[in-house]
């Protein structure tokens, strides 16, 4: 069972970080970063299979693929920036964390602008 592995890893890492926090705070941060990455790697193979199934599904029902890929990209950006920001915040660097989030927001906006413009054009064309 994958979930036991992940939870066990998480609990061990948490105990280690708590023990080390007072003596070596720099190592505790590194442990939390590495744990996050390991959990992500463990889960990424499952995620790819889920995404593949969703892609297949969307092809079958004739939904425009642009929407799907855009949404996936946006979710990915949100996740990655959240991951980075969370680590920075744990290390006590709130300023850097908010900058990471800001960058993520801007990238999401860049992806959203074409959709926004397309919608706008559509509405303009619909007007008599």
């Amino acid at each position: 069972m994958e979930i036991f592995k992940i939870v066990g890893l998480g609990i061990i890492a948490t105990i280690l970080t708590v023990v080390l926090k007072n003596h070596r705070p720099e190592i505790s941060i590194q442990i939390s970063v590495v744990t996050g990455i390991i959990i992500f790697i463990l889960i990424v193979s499952k995620l790819t299979s889920v995404l593949e199934v969703l892609n297949l599904f969307s092809k079958k029902i004739n939904v425009d693929l642009v929407y799907i890929s855009t949404i996936f990209k946006i979710v990915g950006i949100a996740y990655v920036s959240e991951f980075g920001a969370q680590i920075c915040r744990d290390a006590g660097e709130g300023a850097i964390a908010s900058k990471i989030e800001f960058a993520g927001k801007i990238l999401i906006m860049v992806l959203a602008i074409p959709i926004l413009l397309a919608l706008f054009n559509l509405i303009v064309q619909l007007m008599p």
Partner: protein, 211 residues
């Protein structure tokens, strides 16, 4: 019949997108990002709902193409901006590297041919890209240290005769004078070599000998 097929595909589209979005909402991280993502998702749902209406009113319009066009236009703009920025930096690095190579080459050439140590080489090159002679050397300034290599070769002999010469100082001065005279044809030769090799005017090469 066409109407029913149309309705069928429209409703299917809407339902699929909404199920899909509900599924994705589970995956979303619960953070400040959520409202931005929700906005984009809302836009998408609107597009999916309105899109077939346009097909009904105006015939076939490809929304996908329009989205692609806008995104490619954005990409193009950022790319051209990046290229402008990179080109400046890259050019400077390239010119610096080129100068460094010229210096190294000049140093090696002189040291190989003439048995002297080259202390420093300064060079100026044509740096404006528009000019036809881009990359040509404009000026070379070379500082040599006098006959170091040659002296080390002589040193094996000199300690023997050193004691003898110390008594007769005039002879030593004569010796150094002789060396200075020897240097002049060598400097001239260095200049000629460099000017023929780099196609550079001989007046633009400056060679100094440090004693």
């Amino acid at each position: 019949m066409g109407m029913i097929a149309f309705m069928r595909s429209w409703i299917l589209n809407i339902v699929t997108v909404i199920i899909f979005i509900q599924f994705l909402e589970l995956l979303l991280p619960n953070s400040h990002m959520k409202k931005y993502i929700n906005m984009v998702i809302g836009l998408l749902v609107m597009l999916v709902i309105i899109n077939p209406m346009l097909a009904l009113v105006k015939g076939d319009v490809c929304i996908e193409e329009e989205i692609f066009k806008t995104s490619s236009a954005i990409d193009k703009k950022t790319l051209s901006f990046d290229i402008d920025q990179f080109e400046g930096i890259q050019e400077k690095q390239m010119i610096a590297l080129y100068k460094e190579k010229i210096k190294k080459h000049v140093k090696q050439q002189i040291e190989y041919n003439n048995k002297v140590d080259v202390l420093s080489v300064q060079c100026e090159i044509e740096e404006s890209k528009d000019s036809k002679t881009f990359g040509n050397i404009k000026y070379l300034d070379i500082k040599l240290s006098g006959f170091v290599n040659d002296q080390t070769a002589d040193k094996d002999i000199e300690p023997v005769s050193n004691i003898v010469i110390q008594i007769n100082k005039g002879q030593k001065q004569e010796n150094t004078n002789k060396k200075n005279d020897e240097n002049k044809p060598m400097i001239k030769q260095i200049k000629e070599n460099l000017s023929s090799f780099y196609e550079l005017d001989i007046e633009n090469i400056c060679v100094n000998m440090h004693k």
